[in-house]
Symmetry: C2
Subunit: 190 residues, 2 copies
């Protein structure tokens, strides 16, 4: 990692801290600069706008979720079990992240385009992961109600259902039994 990347990382770490404390709207570029121990205009040397910083930080945080989930499942062989573990892991991780960045709800309004863009990127990357898992399951002949030809759309639909579950489960207290039922429903059916 060269100097350029190092400073960029440092700024991102600082930005994460202040974003987690104040949210997107309430944190100023000077807050970030102060936290990073740099002058404000230095930030503009590395990022073109506050939005870009936020987007970079958010995508990075979401990538961590994917990474954790993918690590958690790499030792599992059965495609069905793999899928269950993946869904459970992402839901749990996401819940934690949303807890940390509890502000995002308030920030959505007024930054819809930015948030949509971030969510879109994450959805696409998750869809790709799911597609690969589905492909693997089909190859090993472990999925009997899914047809090869539906693979792409199925991955897309799965993303939608997982998002729905995340939204729904966020509203209430931790209930790992519900997460368990949900993943079983999605993978095994009724």
């Amino acid at each position: 990692m060269n100097r350029d990347e190092e400073v960029k990382q440092a700024i991102m770490v600082a930005a994460k801290r202040v974003f987690a404390k104040w949210g997107l709207n309430k944190t100023t570029m000077e807050d970030i600069a102060g936290e990073a121990g740099k002058g404000k205009s230095t930030l503009y040397y590395y990022f073109k706008s506050k939005e870009e910083i936020f987007e970079t930080v958010a995508i990075d945080e979401l990538n961590r979720i994917s990474l954790k989930a993918c690590t958690a499942i790499e030792t599992i062989d059965s495609p069905k079990d793999k899928m269950k573990a993946y869904i459970t892991a992402t839901i749990t991780e996401m819940k934690q992240i949303v807890g940390i960045y509890s502000f995002i709800k308030g920030d959505i309004k007024g930054n819809k385009a930015l948030i949509d863009n971030i969510r879109n990127q994450y959805d696409q990357s998750e869809e790709k992961i799911l597609r690969e898992m589905l492909r693997q399951g089909l190859k090993l002949n472990e999925f009997n109600s899914l047809k090869e030809i539906e693979l792409n759309k199925a991955a897309n639909v799965l993303v939608g259902m997982i998002r729905g579950l995340q939204l729904y489960l966020f509203l209430e207290n931790e209930d790992s039994e519900k997460i368990d039922i949900a993943t079983r429903l999605l993978v095994d059916g009724l």
Copy 2:
């Protein structure tokens, strides 16, 4: 239906029209009164507030969705097919309603409590319907991955996943194949 109920219905019909045109925030009590051909204070004789009118109208509209879906499935015997048909029907109907009342998105902000309350009522009624269908399927031994003891939580989880799907499918063009895949996923698994 006595006179009292008749007038109430007439007001609701008028309210639906103006709500569909202007949304909750932008329509005034005088708009509704004008559309209904009554004086404003007459509305207060039948409803205690604008919010109450909106809630009544919204619940009524949502009840229609349930009713339509339940009618559509009453001739189906197999619990699994019944479940699939129910999910497809509610998603399709909901999509249409949201198309008509396209404003609600903008009205959520600033009326969160009211909207939450309405959504809650609808979720509960849908959960009840789903619970009954699950019970029936268990009785007939058609569900093999669901346990009796999980029935209540499963119904709750299903509501969440259906909401997620609705949200997700609203964003894109009609794709009945995706709805089909989704229902099959939920009922048959992968």
